[in-house]
C-alpha cells in the first residue's frame, strides 16, 4: 500500500499532465492569495499543504500531544529550537539551559511571553507540562520519565523564572527531547482529565499564530500582534489546506497555489525550478545518511575487511543520480553530516576526504587480499571456498531506495560478489530488522544533533532491535570499547566534552565500517519566492527547512 508520503502515486500520473499544460494554464491559481494587499514590509498570506495527511471533516484537534494535531508548528512552542542542520541553538521559550553535571538541568524561562488568551506564560506552565508527561506516559515523547537514553527524571520543579529538572542519573542525552517539548498552558490543561485524549478545540498557545478558522479542510491562521517576537513575524496569515502527493504539489507550486512543500518531488530542478527559475527554489538539507547495513552476525558481513572493500566498490555518485537526481552528495563515512558538522570532526579527519571514492579496482584488490578469490565463473567465494553471496532486502515502493539498491547490486556483481535484491513490503523489512533475519538492508542513519542518540545508538550493543522495537543498531555491531565511548558521549553535556568520545565513534566508522555510508538523505523544502524570501538555502543554511519551520518563519521577509 502507499506510504502516506506517496499516497496515491497515481495522482502524480494524473496531475503530472499539467506540467506540460502549464504554458496554457499560466499561473491559474496564484490569483487567489493576492486578494488582500499587505501592509508594507508584511506578507499578506502564505499557503502550505495541510500538516497531517489524515483530516476528516469537522474532527479538528489542536492538542499538540495527539498524534495528528491540525498544526504542530504554529501554536505551541518549544523551549529551545536547535536547528537540525548545524545544531545551533536558538533560545525560544527558554532563554537558557544549563547542565549541572549530567543529572540536573536548569532552564531559564523567558519573561513577558503571553498566551494567546492574554494570560502570562510562566515557569509553572513549563513545569506543569513536564510533570504532566510523568502522569501520562503517552505524552512523554522525549522519554523524560523513563530510561530510554539516560536516567529517568526524578523531579521537575518551577522556581521563579527557572525550571529545574533532576534526574536519577546521567541524562544528558535527553536534552534534545526536553528542549523541544511543546509547552501547554497550565490554566487550560490543568482541568483536562486526560490530555492524551483531550480534543483541544480552542487552542491557547504562545506561538506566532492563532486559529482564525477551520472548516474541516482549510485551516486559516492569523498573526498574533502580541507574540513575544512579533517583530520577526512578517506573515499576516497562513492557510493550510489539502494533502498533495508529489505531482499535485509540483503543480500547485508552479501555479503559486502553495508557497512551500516539504515532501518529495522527484527531480525538483526539472519539474519545478526550471519552469520558473525566478520564483522557485529548493533546499535539500542533509538530515541523515542512507547507509548499507549488513547483518554483522552473518557472513560475509561479519568480516570488516569485506565491509571495507565493498565500501570502495559502490558508485555513490550514480546512486545519487538514480536515487535522487544528483541532489544529495555522497555521504561521509564518518556518519556525520558534512560540511554542516565539520567542527565536530576529530582532528585526524579534519580536512581529509572522508567520503570514500568509487574505486572498483581497489575494492577488487582488497577482496583478493582478504581471501575472497574470484572463481572461474567470475564469482568470488568465501576465504574458505564456500560460495559468497549477498542478498539484500529493499523496501518495495521506496523508489529512491530501490534505485540505490540497483546500483549496489550492479556494482557488487561487477566486483564478482554475487548479489541479489529482493523487494519486500516495508513492513516485512521492518520485521526482518527486528528478527535479525536478513542479510543486508538499506537504512537510515539519523543525523540529529544528539550524536550519542543517533550515530551512537547505531553502534551501541544495547541498541539491538528487539521483537518489539526497531532499535537503531540494526546491523548488530557490538564492541565494548565503543559502548563505553557512547556512554561517555551521552553523559557529556557540552560539545567540548563530547568531542573525544565522538572521535572514537568516527574512528570506528572509518575503520570498522559497521555500516557503509552511501548518500545523504534530505530534509526537503521546495518553495516559491514571490510572496516570501529568506528560505534556507545552500548559501545560507541556517536551518533544515522542514524540521525547523518555526525558525524559518522568523527569517521570512517580503520579496524585495
Amino acid at each position: 500500500m502507499r506510504i502516506s508520503r506517496r499516497t496515491s502515486q497515481t495522482t502524480s500520473l494524473l496531475v503530472g499532465g499539467l506540467a506540460l499544460s502549464l504554458v496554457a494554464t499560466g499561473c491559474a491559481g496564484s490569483a487567489k492569495d493576492q486578494e488582500d494587499q499587505a501592509a508594507d514590509g508584511m506578507i499578506a498570506q502564505l499557503t502550505f499543504p495541510a500538516e497531517v495527511d489524515a483530516t476528516v471533516g469537522g474532527l479538528g484537534n489542536y492538542n499538540p500531544y495527539s498524534p495528528t494535531p491540525l498544526t504542530a508548528v504554529w501554536l505551541y512552542e518549544p523551549l529551545i529550537v536547535r536547528n537540525n542542520l548545524t545544531c545551533e541553538e536558538t533560545p525560544w521559550l527558554a532563554t537558557d539551559a544549563t547542565w549541572d553535571g549530567g543529572d540536573k538541568l536548569t532552564l531559564d524561562i523567558r519573561e513577558g511571553v503571553k498566551w494567546s488568551d492574554g494570560e502570562d506564560f510562566t515557569a509553572d506552565d513549563v513545569a506543569f507540562t513536564l510533570n504532566l508527561q510523568k502522569e501520562f506516559p503517552g505524552m512523554d515523547k522525549s522519554g523524560l520519565w523513563n530510561d530510554t537514553f539516560g536516567a529517568p527524571a526524578k523531579s521537575v520543579t518551577a522556581d521563579g523564572n527557572q525550571v529545574v529538572i533532576e534526574f536519577e542519573g546521567n541524562a544528558a542525552a535527553k536534552y534534545d527531547g526536553i528542549i523541544s517539548t511543546k509547552i501547554l498552558p497550565e490554566h487550560v490543561y490543568a482541568d483536562v482529565d486526560d490530555p492524551t485524549t483531550y480534543v483541544d478545540k480552542e487552542p491557547v498557545g504562545t506561538g506566532p499564530f492563532e486559529v482564525e478558522s477551520y472548516n474541516g479542510r482549510r485551516l486559516t491562521l492569523a498573526r498574533r500582534d502580541d507574540y513575544w517576537q512579533a517583530d520577526k513575524i512578517k506573515v499576516e496569515k497562513i492557510v493550510q489546506e489539502g494533502i498533495f502527493d508529489s505531482s499535485q504539489a509540483a503543480l500547485k507550486l508552479e501555479t503559486g497555489e502553495i508557497d512551500a512543500y516539504y515532501g518529495d518531488i522527484p527531480n525538483p530542478q526539472r519539474t519545478v525550478v526550471d519552469k520558473d527559475p525566478d520564483n522557485t527554489g529548493f533546499f535539500y538539507a542533509p538530515a541523515g545518511t542512507t547507509v548499507l547495513t549488513g547483518n554483522l552476525t552473518e557472513e560475509p558481513w561479519s568480516d570488516p575487511k569485506f565491509r571495507e572493500a565493498i565500501s570502495y566498490g559502490m558508485d555513490k555518485e550514480s546512486m545519487s543520480e538514480k536515487g535522487i537526481y544528483g541532489i544529495m552528495e555522497p555521504a561521509s563515512q564518518t556518519g556525520l553530516k558534512l560540511p554542516a558538522m565539520e567542527d565536530l570532526l576529530p582532528e585526524e579527519y579534519a580536512g581529509a576526504d572522508t567520503v570514500l571514492p568509487y574505486d572498483p579496482d581497489k575494492a577488487a584488490e582488497m577482496l583478493d587480499a582478504a581471501g575472497y578469490e574470484e572463481g572461474a565463473d567470475g564469482k568470488r567465494t568465501m576465504p574458505d571456498g564456500s560460495p559468497l553471496s549477498v542478498d539484500f532486502s529493499v523496501q518495495a515502493g521506496f523508489i529512491d531506495y530501490e534505485a540505490i539498491a540497483e546500483v549496489v547490486a550492479d556494482d557488487l556483481n561487477d566486483l564478482g560478489v554475487d548479489t541479489k535484491v529482493t523487494a519486500s513490503a516495508p513492513e516485512s523489512v521492518d520485521e526482518q530488522k527486528k528478527t535479525g533475519d536478513f542479510n543486508a538492508v538499506l537504512e537510515y542513519l539519523h543525523g540529529g544533533c544528539e550524536l550519542a542518540r543517533n550515530l551512537g545508538s547505531k553502534l551501541n550493543s544495547k541498541q539491538f532491535p528487539t521483537e518489539q522495537d526497531i532499535f537503531p543498531n540494526v546491523g548488530r555491531y557490538s564492541d565494548p570499547a565503543t559502548d563505553d565511548a557512547i556512554a561517555q558521549l551521552s553523559g557529556a553535556t557540552s560539545r567540548e566534552e563530547q568531542k573525544p568520545y565522538l572521535g572514537e565513534l568516527v574512528d570506528v566508522m572509518m575503520t570498522e565500517y559497521p555500516v557503509t555510508s552511501l548518500i545523504y538523505a534530505p530534509s526537503r523544502t521546495i518553495y516559491r519566492t514571490d510572496h516570501a524570501e529568506g528560505w534556507p538555502t545552500e548559501d545560507n543554511p541556517y536551518a533544515s527547512g522542514a524540521d525547523d519551520r518555526l525558525l524559518v518563519m522568523t527569517h521570512l521577509v517580503p520579496p524585495s
Binding site: 502507499r2 541523515g288 521492518d430
Partner: protein, 329 residues
C-alpha cells in the same frame, strides 16, 4: 419456516466468518501501528525514536494480550456497538470518523451508480433491439474500449484536461473555502469537487450494465412471448419495452442491489487519487497505518453492506418476478 431459519443462519454464519477474518487480516500483517504512526509523522526513511514509539504505544494503547483475548474483547465490543478509537484519527472514535466520511462516499457512489445503471439499461436495451446494426456496434465496441481503460488512466486524462488545461474542476478534496452545511456555497463546491471522481466512475461502470442488459435482452427476444407479441401486431415500442425490456431488467436490477452493496470497497483508488474525503480514502489510510479499529469497522461495513444487499436482492427479485413470489428456495 425451516427455509428462513436456514437462510438466516447462513447470513449470521457468513457475518461471523467475515467478522473473524476482518479481525485477523489486519493483525496478521507485519508491522506495528505505533511504529507506523511515528514513522508517518517523521517521514518514511527515519530512524525510529524509541522514546517516541514508546510514548505512542502507551497513548494508543495498542492491543496487547493474546489474540484470543483481543478477539473476545472485539466481539464483545461489536455487540455493544463499540468500534473503538481510531489510531490514525486519535483520539476520535471510529464511529465519529466514519460518520464524517460515509456521506461523501454514499453521495458519490450512489449517485454515480444510479446514473451508470440507467445509462447501461437504456443503451443495452437499445443495442439489443437494434442488434447487428451500426448503432449496436458503436455502443458495444465503444463501451468496451472505454470500459477497459484503467480507472487511474481515465482519472489522468480527466484531471489533465478538465482540471488543468481547462481548469473547470478542482482535482483534490471534497470542498475548500465554504462551511459545510445546507448552504448554496457549500453545495456548489461539493458538486464541482465531486465532478471528476464521479466522471471517472461513470466512465468505467456502465459497460458491465450495457453488455449484461444487451445479452439478456437478446436472449429474451428469442422467447415465444416476444414472437407472440409481434404476431399480435403490437407496436415495436410496446414489444421492446413491455415484453422484452421488462423481462430483461430482472437480473440487472438484482445485480444493481449487489453492486450498491459492494461499492464501498471499489472507491478506494478513485477517492485516494482525488483526495476525496470518503470511506474509500479512509480504508486506504487505515490499511497504511494498520489502524485496526478503523480498518475492522470499515471492512465490517463493506461486508455487511454486501450481505444485506444480497438479502435485498433476493427480496427484490421476489417482488419483481411474479414467478419467484411463491415458492422461493
Amino acid at each position: 419456516m425451516r427455509y428462513f431459519l436456514r437462510k438466516l443462519g447462513f447470513f449470521v454464519g457468513t457475518l461471523w466468518a467475515v467478522v473473524t477474518l476482518n479481525f485477523l487480516i489486519p493483525r496478521i500483517q507485519p508491522g506495528d501501528p505505533a511504529e507506523l504512526m511515528v514513522r508517518r509523522l517523521q517521514g518514511k526513511d527515519s530512524q525510529l525514536d524509541a522514546a517516541q514509539v514508546r510514548a505512542m504505544r502507551s497513548m494508543l494503547g495498542t492491543p496487547d494480550g493474546s489474540l484470543w483475548s483481543q478477539y473476545w474483547d472485539y466481539l464483545g465490543d461489536l455487540l455493544h456497538g463499540n468500534f473503538g478509537v481510531s489510531y490514525t484519527y486519535y483520539p476520535f472514535k471510529v464511529s465519529e470518523v466514519i460518520g464524517q466520511a460515509i456521506w461523501w462516499t454514499v453521495g458519490l457512489v450512489v449517485v454515480t451508480q444510479i446514473i451508470s445503471f440507467a445509462i447501461g439499461m437504456v443503451l443495452g436495451a437499445y443495442a439489443a433491439w437494434r442488434r447487428n446494426t451500426k448503432l449496436d456496434a458503436t455502443i458495444t465496441i465503444g463501451s468496451t474500449f472505454v470500459g477497459t481503460l484503467q480507472p487511474f488512466w481515465i482519472a489522468l486524462v480527466l484531471v489533465y484536461v478538465f482540471g488543468y488545461s481547462l481548469g473547470w474542476f478542482p482535482t483534490s478534496g471534497g470542498y475548500s473555502a465554504s462551511t459545510p452545511g445546507w448552504n448554496a456555497a457549500f453545495i456548489e463546491e461539493v458538486i464541482s469537487y465531486s465532478t471528476l471522481p464521479a466522471l471517472t466512475l461513470l466512465i468505467v461502470t456502465p459497460i458491465g450494465w450495457i453488455l449484461g442488459m444487451r445479452n439478456t435482452m437478446i436472449m429474451n427476444l428469442g422467447e415465444d412471448y416476444i414472437r407472440l407479441a409481434k404476431a399480435k401486431g403490437l407496436s415495436d415500442r410496446t414489444v421492446a419495452l413491455r415484453y422484452a425490456a421488462r423481462n430483461a431488467l430482472l437480473p440487472s436490477v438484482t445485480g444493481f442491489a449487489l453492486a450498491l452493496g459492494g461499492v464501498l470497497g471499489g472507491t478506494i483508488l478513485v477517492e485516494t487519487v482525488f483526495d476525496y474525503p470518503g470511506l474509500g480514502r479512509l480504508m486506504g489510510e487505515a490499511v497504511q497505518n494498520k489502524d485496526y479499529p478503523l480498518l475492522q469497522t470499515l471492512m465490517l461495513l463493506t461486508t455487511t453492506g454486501v450481505l444485506v444487499a444480497n438479502l435485498i436482492a433476493d427480496l427484490l427479485y421476489g417482488v419483481l418476478d411474479p414467478r419467484a413470489r411463491r415458492a422461493e428456495g
